[in-house]
């Protein structure tokens, strides 16, 4: 598949700090791909997007756009459009003029400008608002104007910088679908920056996770969820968050405490590890006998029950998601018998050492 954007070893250092904002980012975005860059605030994701746009300079590394090196290309020659979190609409222009603004600068004929603007407004269902000023529009409509501007520019690559984070939750969910639809319909290549893991999971073809100025993982959403490369990625995806428990390995099992341990078939060096268990992967029995945990907060969400429990003896807290309204209340004794799946992380580096599901799959494959 042809690559629309490729980054090789991109690094950004600001003059006044020796600490790089981003170091050695490698990624490539395919034509027509919805590529999401996700990470907590301050991880450098907006910086990365602005480097691709040409709004800030690249300290080192190479940027290719459609196969040609573009490090020093001015923004207007990169043939891309950008949608901003704050919409970047001109408050003194009506919707039509806002969309037409960039086109007029390109010395396009009056008729072509009109055709393009009309088409773009039609795509986002704003034709009847063409004469309105932005302040007379709702947040969602304003963002659609910004989208129309990107569509009208006819650029094949569109950069989006947290375009939905100023909207309320309900609208955001709807706009996610609209945006994805639009992208498919127009065959756009989208690089989308967000701090919201749900947006990343639901919209992306592929996700790049940024944290601590470095790329943590780059993969499809499902792979990132199933095979996180380190503690950070495991924690970042999934709600409620994955449980990270410290455990001791000896005698072919990870011992979290005297009453709760996880056996494994593989051998590890004896010592301290971090075990990651997703809240819905626990095997839980509600029983007094042999109980090893006590529930604290319990909330019924209809199809499932979300609870926190304190593991007796040791006091580590775990988050549980139990199916089908398991009959427990606060302060109940429960027995955690094991986990359907878990991860083993290096307790120092946070790197994943062992992924139980993968290991089982491999085991069955070799058995056959």
């Amino acid at each position: 598949m042809p690559m629309a954007i490729e980054l090789q070893d991109i690094t950004k250092v600001y003059d006044d700090g020796d600490q790089p904002v981003l170091s050695h980012v490698n990624m490539s975005v395919n034509d027509g791909e919805f590529f999401v860059i996700v990470g907590p605030s301050g991880c450098g994701k907006s910086t990365l997007l602005r480097m691709i746009a040409g709004l800030i300079s690249i300290s080192s590394g190479k940027l290719f756009i459609n196969g040609t090196q573009a490090n020093d290309l001015p923004p207007k020659d990169r043939k891309l459009s950008m949608v901003f979190q704050s919409y970047a609409l001109f408050p003194f222009m009506n919707v039509y003029d806002n969309v037409a603004f960039g086109l007029k600068a390109r010395k396009m004929s009056e008729k072509e400008v009109k055709d393009r603007v009309d088409h773009a407004l039609d795509m986002v269902n704003l034709t009847k608002f063409a004469k309105r000023k932005p302040r007379a529009l709702s947040g969602g409509q304003r963002q659609r104007v910004a989208l129309a501007r990107a569509i009208a520019s006819d650029a094949k690559v569109c950069l989006m910088d947290e375009p939905l984070s100023n909207l309320d939750a309900q609208l955001r969910a709807r706009m996610r679908l609209e945006l994805r639809d639009l992208q498919k319909k127009l065959g756009l290549t989208v690089i989308y920056v967000t701090h919201d893991q749900v947006e990343a999971m639901t919209m992306a073809d592929r996700v790049m996770v940024l944290h601590d100025h470095k790329v943590q993982q780059l993969d499809t959403p499902i792979n990132i969820y199933k095979n996180p490369k380190n503690e950070f990625v495991a924690q970042f995806f999934g709600t409620p968050q994955i449980n990270l428990l410290s455990a001791n390995f000896s005698n072919r099992e990870f011992k979290i405490n005297n009453s709760f341990s996880l056996p494994v078939r593989r051998q590890f060096d004896d010592g301290q590890y971090t075990i990651g268990i997703r809240p819905n992967e626990f095997n839980v029995e509600v029983t007094q006998k042999g109980s090893n945990a006590r529930t604290r907060e319990v909330s019924y969400l209809g199809d499932k029950t979300v609870a926190t429990a304190e593991i007796l003896d040791g006091g580590q807290i775990v988050r549980l998601v139990l199916n089908n309204q398991v009959d427990i209340a606060e302060d109940n004794l429960i027995k955690i018998t094991g986990a359907k799946q878990f991860y083993v992380f290096d307790s120092k580096t946070g790197e994943v050492l062992f992924n139980e599901r993968e290991a089982n799959l491999n085991a069955t494959i070799t058995a056959e």
């Binding site: 746009a53 040409g54 709004l55 990169r78 704050s86 970047a88 408050p91 603004f101 000023k133 302040r135």
Partner: protein, 314 residues
């Protein structure tokens, strides 16, 4: 528990009754309070603003003697004679030229400085401080500074002209150049404030607007006229009107630099009022001139409110 609730309810109902009573019965009591609060400021404003205003208007209807006592009622004839007086009319014309030049230059140069200081460059903070520094300069200091600059023998400008073999300009003794000199000085005095206000407005313009324009390929010059100026136009308009009104009231620099001369070329309205009242002892004429100036400034203020209401509606 029950009892305390009942008590509370009883208390509340009695409170309500009290309130109902107070609204009907104590209008006069409220009046006292209002008077008490407004009294001090009314007193001060009355003594220092309203009374002088009315007195000025009163005096403009009379002929006055040399200590400012009204002698003969003459109606509006002071106004009529003033508007037929060529010296006054030329003073009015000079004031208009001065005011327009000062406000236009102040806003344009202030905008240029603000745009320049808004760039992300190393050491730009030094310039920001420099550009706003005239806010801290008093009129007398500024006058002395500019007198040195314009001085025909030791002044910087004349020495520069001599060095470049250009004719030396007699800045403060040539009628045209005297006017230019006080315009330059006033603009310089105004720049600190104007710069600060416009710079603040520029900083409030979201950077994403410029980023969007960069990506669309809009040139920097077009960005200035199509984004920056429209975005800060309400502030620019505010600054323009404030400068305009302040320019009408200019006194200090003129008094210290030209004293209205040469040949009355810089004898602006306020300075003329001062001369007529306190040097020529013609209080009636000075009062009449004051009232006319007040009306002119009032008209500009009115225009400001009318236009400002329209411009800030995005």
């Amino acid at each position: 528990m029950q009892q305390s609730l009942q008590n509370k309810a009883a208390n509340e109902s009695s409170n309500l009754k009290l309130k109902a009573n107070s609204t009907t019965a104590s209008k006069s009591k409220d009046g006292w309070y209002v008077a008490l609060f407004l009294g001090p400021s009314l007193l001060l404003l009355g003594i220092f603003v309203f009374y002088p205003m009315l007195k000025t208007f009163y005096l403009s209807m009379f002929l006055t003697n040399n200590v400012g006592k009204a002698t003969t009622f003459v109606g509006f004839s002071n106004y009529l004679s003033l508007l037929k007086n060529p010296a006054y009319l030329s003073s009015l014309g000079a004031t208009l030229i001065y005011v327009l030049a000062v406000s236009a230059l102040t806003v344009i140069i202030g905008l240029l400085l603000a745009v320049a200081a808004n760039q992300q460059l190393k050491g730009i903070k030094i310039f920001r401080t420099l550009f706003s520094s005239t806010m801290g300069v008093s009129v007398s200091v500024a006058a002395i500074f500019w007198l040195f600059v314009f001085n025909p023998s030791v002044g910087v400008l004349s020495q520069l002209s001599t060095a470049l073999h250009l004719p030396v300009i007699n800045w403060l003794t040539d009628p045209t150049f005297a006017m230019i000199a006080i315009i330059i000085s006033t603009v310089w005095m105004n720049l600190g404030f104007t710069f600060l206000i416009l710079f603040g407005a520029l900083q409030a313009v979201p950077t994403s607007l410029y980023e969007a324009a960069d990506i669309a390929g809009v040139s920097k010059t077009t960005q200035l006229f199509k984004i920056t100026i429209p975005m800060i136009s309400p502030t620019m308009f505010f600054v323009l009107i404030v400068t305009l009104i302040e320019a009408f009231k200019s006194f200090g620099l003129i008094d210290m630099m030209t004293a209205g001369g040469p040949n009355n070329a810089t004898n602006l309205l306020v300075y003329r009022i001062y001369q007529d009242a306190f040097l020529n002892g013609n209080f009636a004429q000075a009062s009449t001139e004051s009232i006319i100036l007040t009306v002119i400034i009032a008209i500009f203020t009115l225009i400001q409110f009318k236009l400002l209401g329209k411009r800030v509606n995005y």
